[in-house]
Amino acid sequence: MRLPCSPLQVDRGAPVIRFDNVSKSYPKQTRPALRDVSLEVEKGEFVFLVGSSGSGKSTFLRLLLREERASHGSVHVLGKDLARLSNWKVPQMRRQLGTVFQDFRLLPNKTVGENVAFALEVIGKPRGQIRKTVPEVLDLVGLGGKDDRMPGELSGGEQQRVAIARAFVNRPMLLIADEPTGNLDPQTSVGIMKLLDRINRTGTTVVMATHDQQIVDQMRKRVIELEKGRLVRDQSRGVYGYQH
């Protein structure tokens, strides 16, 4: 069902994400959270991950971040087999990923600039570089000049932009967004989607889990649908779903 490769996909051999027959079951649950999922996401793609609650979206994202390990099958992210990645190398892997959540996850007692700088400080980046990159990335997300504001003073949409700035400040290969518009009104959501689209066009692969039908239908990107842990639809230029 997928379109032939776009020019972006040609220049990189290894896919950004590869799932080979991945299953994940949690110890105390009878039904596995993911069942025999196989798929590939190439560099530069924008993928929506849809499905009702409990369909396995969160597990899918947790596997990508290596918060969990697959019970069966193998997960490759950025060409690395996560099952073979030793624990102490996981932080290095996560530095090449950016993550955005529904609840923003900003530090309320730090300014906007400090929140973004925090991501660089804790991985030991030199101060000079931090001072230079933070305003740049805040400009990029449309918050130029708001470095000194506290997150509490900002609207939800602006807070999410700060979170995106923090996720993007390391120029990750892959941006993972878990319902980034879940707490935002439709108009603000459109702004966030435009920003994610712009980031995607810089070459960053974006995987976004969402329940927002309007957005998926408007964007016309690849849609992966999970249902009860199974991959039931993988459609390029897809819509949210038929039955919703």
């Binding site: 102490w88 932080p91 804790v122 030991g124």
Partner: protein, 303 residues
């Protein structure tokens, strides 16, 4: 690693849990002060045992010229060479005796100097004031009475002393105190460790937002754990510092200004003994909480 970042995290953490930090400091201080005190008590015991304590069981002190004038047992004058030979030969014939050593007054003076050093009493002594003695090791230490009855009334013998009898009561007391101190120390140590584990748990919980973000952006586990471990280590070090102050105060006020004034026969431990314990106390105060925090983090902090 950016020192400034870590330091600010630590100071924020310590202040956030001020009551808990205080409890950790106090319990670490008390347990380490008891630990240091018990080490010093052991030093004190070994200082007091002197040269002969572990080597012999019975000492026969012989009369010297001074005793001839003052001691009722020595009215017949100082011991003669013949008397000495006779006593030695007889001792060696006794079946309960394992070995006999002769200590001349010169040797006695030397051993006394070693034990008592520069105390005022020692500096006023001269070698010829010291008593000659036979130092006897028994096959069975309980048979002291056999030697005592055979020699105590002998001319030239000033006294027969059961070595253990003199000091054992004191040593038993000191050992008892030592064991009691160690027991209390053990309890305080457990309290300190539990407090540290709890502090780390509270601290990890109140910082879960930060640590969650650190994890997501790829901070190393070392970087995430470091502030917690340092928090515990610094609290422990402050506690150990107080313990050191307590030990120094104890030496100064309790030993130097009180015990030493009252009892001038005992040679008390010197400052060198106290000072040599302080680095050990500080090192334990630093490492033990750090290690406890490290293991607590494995349980309470996902990295």
């Amino acid at each position: 690693m950016r020192a400034q970042f870590v330091l600010s995290e630590i100071s924020v953490g310590l202040r956030r849990n001020l009551t808990m930090t205080f409890a950790v400091i106090v319990s670490v201080a008390l347990s380490l002060a008891l630990f240091g005190g018990s080490l010093l008590m052991r030093d004190q015991v070994s200082t007091m045992k002197g040269y002969w304590y572990d080597k012999v069981n019975v000492s026969i002190f012989l009369c010297n010229k001074n005793d001839a004038e003052s001691d009722p047992n020595c009215t017949k004058g100082a011991v003669t060479e013949d008397q000495k030979k006779e006593i030695k030969a007889e001792l060696e014939r006794m079946p309960v005796v394992d070995s006999v050593l002769h200590e001349s007054s010169e040797e006695a003076y030397k051993h006394y100097k070693e034990q008592f050093g520069d105390s005022p009493l020692a500096s006023s002594l001269t070698p010829d004031q010291m008593q000659e003695s036979f130092r006897i090791k028994l096959k069975d230490p309980e048979k002291y009475q056999v030697v005592a009855s055979a020699f105590s009334a002998r001319p030239g013998v000033q006294a027969v002393e059961d070595q253990r009898d003199v000091l054992d009561n004191l040593f038993n007391l000191l050992n008892g105190m030592n064991i009691a101190a160690l027991c209390v120390m053990g309890l305080m140590l457990i309290v300190a460790l539990l407090l540290i584990v709890n502090t780390v748990r509270v601290s990890a919980f109140s910082r879960r937002r930060e640590t969650g973000i650190m994890r997501l952006v790829g901070a190393s586990s070392f970087y995430i754990q470091m502030p917690f471990i340092m928090e515990a280590a610094i609290a422990g070090l402050i506690g150990a510092g107080f313990a050191c102050v307590l030990l120094v105060f104890g030496k100064y006020f309790l030993v130097n200004n009180w015990l030493a004034e009252k009892i001038d026969l005992i040679n008390f431990i010197g400052w060198d003994a106290v000072l040599s314990k302080l680095p050990l106390v500080l090192a334990i105060g630093l490492l033990m909480p750090a290690i406890a925090a490290f293991f607590a983090l494995r349980k309470y902090l996902k990295v």
